[in-house]
Symmetry: C2
Subunit: 369 residues, 2 copies
DNA sequence: CTGTTAGCGCTTTCAT
DNA sequence: ATGAAAGCGCTAACAG
């Protein structure tokens, strides 16, 4: 290997390797750095022979353009971020999120974008955002009243918010939470249920009015009750984390406290699966003695026993749509001040975890009155 | 807002914002760029008052250090990559992977590292790696004979390989695949099963010998059979993707082709869940008429009906260990030439998807002989 | 068609 | 305690 300049280190073993830079290749090939760059990025601007020779030399030397340097001069990272206020551990443990990420990933990947997960750094999303080398972010799980939402807005990074309304000049994706919830409650009411327990998704912040996913879904449940001339007492609503364990323990606790609903409406399938597990543990048969409705329609609903009646929302498509919107925004940087909002549909999937309340139940109710 | 230099654009609406650079802050605060940098990174080197003032000005101007520029001069990205040969869509759809990622993420996050997902770009992992701005990677799903493994080795990026042996100077994490598989097979043999179907995980490449996860597990199954004086015919082994659908269709196809195993050994829980679904569809009762054993022990095994007997492997801890090893390697850049390999244990979890073959079955077997 | 050169934005050494 | 200036490695406008 002749002609090695004195500056370079001679590599004998594995270690002490020096990264090959563009200048090294240029020198070795007897051309300028620019030529090397062109050989990779705009081969047409070089004579075919030269281009080939340069790439050959580069190959032999094991040259790979430094990705960070490339980002810096290109002025873009070709990476988008998925932002969530939860710790990553919790994020990946959540099958809803996995499905959403699947959607996002499928489009970013196809377009050659990298995917970076952004979660609070030392408790701060703003800090995490500052350190993130992304061209834009898809934000999920951020309630419209999340304290760090401002940081995002100020950040000036192109953003698509999922499950929260857009702010001016930005984009958002929503689903018809209220409609789906209303359908679920109507279904239950139609079957004859009157004593219902609601498992709300644990709100990161307390919500006034019907803001946030939880608020919108609750509003839907309520609307159905009102339409039937009934009302859903606040005492029938309890919070539960959107996890199997969370659903199970919330249900068991309610039951232990004496609640005897004939049906449970959950704002997440994970929680619903937990209720199912809890019911099994208590020896309560589903759906004969207890009806359960979930929300999301994750793949797991088809493997529970019985298969779960739930409100479908197109989670994967939501991810795809969010990614596409963001990529679109990157291409046309804030062309107008309009905020683009896409609302996706929801619909009830009736499976086998719901049925009319048992005769006993009905009687009980009658007696109780 | 006086004193705005002519060069800057006056911002009226939302758009046309110009990113605030360090030089802008320096000018506004009447100090040098270095001072601004110090104010953020080494405040001790500035008088307390100056530092505070600078940060104040920076705040007011909405200055945020450019992360890419910072990476370039720092010479490190503070990001690690999770590398997988699958498309990201498939990756997130796989609950095994989610659990693994959960482990990796929990430690990278705690140490302030970003997490980037790396998957083949235009079919090439090498290309994807070239574009990835990471300090190191955790590679999973790469069989030791994967064609692009060389690219990784050559890349010179600190790497921890999961489920494949380390190469010199690198690190690896393995689990006792063979031992776990042997336990599973012994369990079945002990119950009296003789006609067994194996659902191997679809090998990305054809494997000779007992290489790869699939090879090691198969070797374990075989060892148990041999220890019992029996043998596992090659015809009893079929490939199936490690997904619910994959398991279901492979099982149905085998059944349709006339196979009548009394037990199925799956190399993944996902496939096992699929077999469960397929059996239900065929009206075959589990475990009375068919025993099923999975592999991995994912959370979902506890919600199948019946709960799945499976080989546990510490997936989450595997992720944590991989991340920790990698971070360690980053701290001490290839201190020695030894390759560090960590082998984690596996163990059989007997739940309710396995039982002794039914009397009918035994008779059938007898008749068949 | 090819080479020179000026950035990209920040960090950090070295002089003041 | 503070500032000037030299990189980090690459891209692309601009000469030749």
């Amino acid at each position: 290997m002749p002609g090695v300049p004195g500056q370079e280190e001679l590599v004998v073993g594995e270690a002490t390797e020096q990264r090959v830079r563009i200048a090294d290749v240029a020198r070795e090939a007897g051309v300028s750095k620019a030529a090397v760059s062109f050989a990779f990025n705009q081969p047409d601007r070089l004579s075919a022979g030269t281009a080939a020779r340069i790439r050959d030399v580069a190959d032999r030397m094991g040259y790979r353009p430094h990705p960070v340097a490339r980002m810096l001069s290109a002025g873009q990272t070709s990476t988008i971020g998925i932002l969530s206020p939860q710790a990553l551990g919790a994020v990946f443990a959540n099958p809803f999120f996995a499905l959403f990420a699947e959607g996002v990933a499928s489009v970013t990947e196809e377009r050659g974008f990298g995917l970076l997960f952004i979660s609070p750094f030392h408790g701060s999303l703003a800090t995490a955002l500052d350190r993130a080398t992304v061209d834009g972010v898809v934000a999920i799980g951020l309630d419209e009243r999340h304290p760090e939402l401002d940081a995002l807005r100020r950040g000036g990074l192109p953003t698509v918010v999922v499950d929260a309304p857009a702010w001016p000049g930005h984009r958002a994706i929503l689903v018809d939470d209220e409609g789906g919830a209303r359908e679920a409650a109507s279904h239950l009411l139609g079957l004859g249920h009157r004593e219902v327990l609601v498992l709300a998704v644990q709100p990161a912040i307390d919500e006034s009015g019907d803001q946030g996913v939880s608020g919108r879904r609750l509003a839907g449940y309520r609307a159905a009750f009102e339409a039937a001339g009934l009302s859903l007492p606040g005492s029938a609503v309890v919070d539960a984390p959107a996890t199997i364990e969370g659903g199970e323990s919330a249900f068991l606790q309610a039951w232990t406290s004496g609640a005897r609903p004939s049906a449970v409406m959950c704002m997440s399938d994970a929680a619903a699966a937990g209720v199912l597990a809890g019911a099994r543990r208590l020896g309560v048969r589903v759906p004969e003695e207890l009806s359960i409705v979930g929300f999301d329609d994750l793949p797991l609903t088809r493997f529970t026993d019985p298969p779960l009646t739930t409100v479908h929302q197109p989670v994967r498509r939501k991810g795809e749509a969010a990614a596409r919107m963001l990529l679109e925004a990157l291409r046309r940087p804030s062309g107008d001040d309009q905020d683009h909002t896409l609302v996706l549909e929801t619909r009830l999937m009736v499976r086998r975890s719901t049925a009319a309340p048992s005769g006993d139940r009905c009687q009980e109710v009658v007696v109780a009155r």
